[in-house]
């Protein structure tokens, strides 16, 4: 496909969409169950009123505010309806062209919407994820054309470097540097992998991106393939995300049909085939070398690094491995320029970040904010604070590898550096709000049980250490711990953190360490008085 043809297709599709006076977009993500019934009810209503030629009902991606779903968006009015049921179809259709349905309407000035800055999620909820025409009409794949026709691979890499984009999977390694290393690596054969093994319980950014704008991820991957010089790509997705997998398969087929993927992409000499590999429920596979083992069909057991995958990865060849959200950031950096991207965020953490805001917070859902926004703004403005008049206790970031940040640090900006200084991590973007009714010891025991279960067993510090830490935490939970247990807990955490092979073990103690730092009293309160401890011990 040539550029003119792409423009023609995009224009045709836009014309066909513009032919409808009203668009009703229904969120068809996993977060809005029952959306099929709503779509059916709306279509029936429109047929009964003979409005088929003026009103278009479509399934769209995630609109973010899952807590108040199912969400329906009316365009061009920009009216957003909440908690829609199939019975509301009549009122919604009747109100088209008139005042919106008051009882369903979300205030347009809701901070949840106004305080966000959407870049990766800009098209999420506004296009049909199952239509490549929609993505083209919204300017999709133009970044790919720009890269292929106006830039050499080295130019693409320098743009990514200038933008300051860092890996969105959690570690925050500079993306451009990784690309440059793979591009420089010797040898003809190289691989490209997209890490969609979002195993952190409490996070669903990658699921939403894959479900809402699968083509943006593909476009980012194709641009990356051009930049580093590879013809083979894999997307590794969790099997727990069947809808994301289905939409991704469709997106790959559609892109191949238009020669945006496959042989001689866009008439250039770039070839790329992308295959999907399904995960099978192993948290450790989010670690890049374990993921590579899994793609090769084995148990997900991490390899020692170095050599890093950029030098020796899949089948021993140089491999570029980036997270879903990282790839989804690429097209806009190419289109809008690295300066635009670098102007967003903080000094060292550029751009925006998508977070899954959940736990005890009013407006839980999927959000995107510029880096550097304070936790307070995220939890209380965008999230609407804690429901039921309870008090905020902590916000947990980074899942089982992260930490809990107490109220005293609510004004800290969200960036790789500041979260690290607070003893947590950015992680992939899970953000769980915890209120005063939850016990930190309980939450930490939960995370440690998770890490213990998910430890692959290769290295001893992680395999044995997580089990021992869990046993100690259980003693605290049951109020049978001793002062010596507390000392041993701290010693073990330090040991596991510094001697484990991979990120899973190295970061598993983080939740314990951060709560020992900020909520030490909760541990002390659970140390049994000596006499009681003696009675209970065998």
């Amino acid at each position: 496909m040539q550029r003119e043809e792409l423009h023609r297709l995009a224009a045709e599709h836009r014309r066909s969409l513009d032919g409808f006076a009203h668009h009703i977009l229904v969120c068809a993500g996993l977060g809005c169950p029952g959306n099929e019934d709503i779509v059916a009810a709306l279509r029936k209503e429109i047929a009964e009123r003979h409005l088929e030629s003026t009103v278009l009902v479509r399934k769209a991606g995630c609109m973010g505010l899952c807590a108040l779903g199912p969400i329906v968006l009316i365009l061009p009015d920009e009216a957003t309806y909440q908690a829609v049921r199939p019975e509301d179809a009549g009122d919604i259709v009747a109100a088209l062209g008139h005042a919106p349905v008051e009882r369903l309407l979300l205030p347009p000035d809701l901070p949840f919407f106004t305080r966000q800055y959407k870049n990766v999620l800009a098209l999420s909820g506004r296009i049909d994820p199952e239509s490549i025409g929609d993505y083209l009409a919204a300017g999709g794949y133009s970044a790919l054309f720009t890269a292929l026709t106006e830039m050499r691979p080295a130019d693409v890499i320098s743009r990514i470097q200038e933008s300051g984009l860092r890996g969105r999977g959690g570690a925050g390694y500079p993306t451009g540097l990784k690309w440059a290393t793979v591009a420089k690596a010797a040898g003809e054969k190289k691989y490209l992998i997209c890490n969609g093994d979002e195993g952190d319980p409490g996070a669903f950014m990658d699921r939403s991106i894959l479900e809402s704008t699968p083509h943006a991820v593909l476009e980012g991957m194709i641009i990356a393939a051009y930049a580093v010089g590879t013809r083979h790509g894999y997307i590794y997705v969790r099997a727990e995300y069947p809808l994301a997998v289905r939409r991704l398969r469709l997106a790959i087929r559609e892109a191949e049909r238009l020669h945006l993927l496959g042989h001689a992409i866009c008439g250039s000499n770039l070839d790329l085939n992308i295959q999907i590999r399904l995960g099978a429920g192993a948290f450790v596979c989010g670690e890049e070398t374990a993921l590579i083992e899994s793609v090769e069909g084995r148990r997900g057991i991490p390899r020692p690094r170095p050599p890093y995958p950029a030098e020796k990865g899949l089948w021993g060849y140089p491999t570029l491995i980036n997270n879903v959200e990282t790839y989804a950031n690429v097209p806009s950096i190419i289109t809008r320029g690295p300066e635009w991207f670098a102007a967003l965020g903080t000094d060292k953490s550029k751009g925006t970040k998508v977070f899954a805001l959940t736990g005890t917070v009013k407006h839980s859902g999927l959000i995107e904010v510029p880096m550097g926004m304070s936790l307070r703004e995220i939890v209380f403005d965008i999230g609407g604070g804690i429901p039921g008049g309870r008090a905020f206790k902590a916000v947990q970031t980074g899942g089982p590898s992260g930490g809990c940040i107490p109220a005293a640090f609510l004004d800290a900006p969200v960036s790789y550096e500041s979260l690290g200084e607070l003893g947590s991590i950015m992680g992939s973007g899970g953000m769980i709000v915890i209120d005063e009714t939850s016990s930190m010891v309980d939450i930490v025991t939960f995370f440690m049980e998770f890490c213990m279960d998910e430890s692959c067993g290769k290295c001893i510090p992680c395999r044995v250490g997580t089990a021992q830490i869990h046993a100690l935490l259980t003693k605290f939970q049951q109020r049978q711990a001793t002062v010596a247990d507390l000392a041993q807990l701290e010693m073990l955490c330090d040991l596991v953190k510094h001697t484990s092979l991979c990120g899973l073990g190295q970061s598993a103690p983080n939740p314990v360490l951060s709560t020992l730092r900020y909520f030490r009293q909760e541990y002390l309160d659970r140390i049994a008085p000596p006499a009681f401890a003696q009675e209970d011990s065998p």
Binding site: L30, G31, G281, R299, T358, L366, G399
Partner: protein, 167 residues
């Protein structure tokens, strides 16, 4: 038990053909083992020893490696499931919102622990680490249908109704 030949299997059952086709799609490459196990579980509902043996011989992967992979990943089940499956999400958000209460209730009411099936083969209980619908926590799935944002009382009412309705 020696693995059956392909011919025996394909005459037996269409499910073996599905499995065969999945392996064919990947040119019987040993690295497509996980994809093949997915296909086998989709076809049969679980992975039994004869299926694993068959995959081992077709992909030329040692039986120990096939079993190793099948047991490493949580998604694969080596035992058949009951008529109905209740899936309880135990991700962080669901934990905070009290899904452990639902698990405890199922344990008492149906004498079921995660991974188990009732004696009458009616109900299986599966615990999953996050289905990614955290904003709807706590989440349960009744035969794959998601129910979220339910109180403990609402959730057990849904389960009760589902099991009665479904018979």
């Amino acid at each position: 038990m020696p693995a059956k030949t392909q011919a025996q299997h394909s005459t037996d059952d269409r499910r073996w053909q599905l499995l065969e086709r999945a392996m064919q799609r990947h040119d019987f490459r040993p690295d497509a083992l996980i994809e093949t196990l997915h296909a086998a579980q989709d076809a049969f509902g679980y992975l039994d020893p004869s299926t694993l043996d068959y995959i081992s011989s077709r992909l030329r992967v040692p039986p120990a490696k096939v079993l190793g992979v099948a047991t490493f990943y949580n998604h694969f089940h080596l035992k058949p499931k009951g008529e109905h499956t209740l899936t309880v999400c135990t991700g962080t958000a669901c934990h905070i919102k009290g899904n452990d209460r639902i698990l405890a209730w199922v344990r008492d009411r149906y004498r079921l622990t995660p991974g188990g099936t009732t004696a009458d083969n009616r109900l299986s209980l599966v615990e999953v680490r996050c289905v990614g619908a955290c904003a709807l926590a706590p989440v349960i799935l009744t035969d794959g249908t998601l129910a979220g944002k339910k109180s403990f009382e609402e959730a057990i009412a849904i389960i009760g109704e589902w099991l009665n309705d479904a018979t």
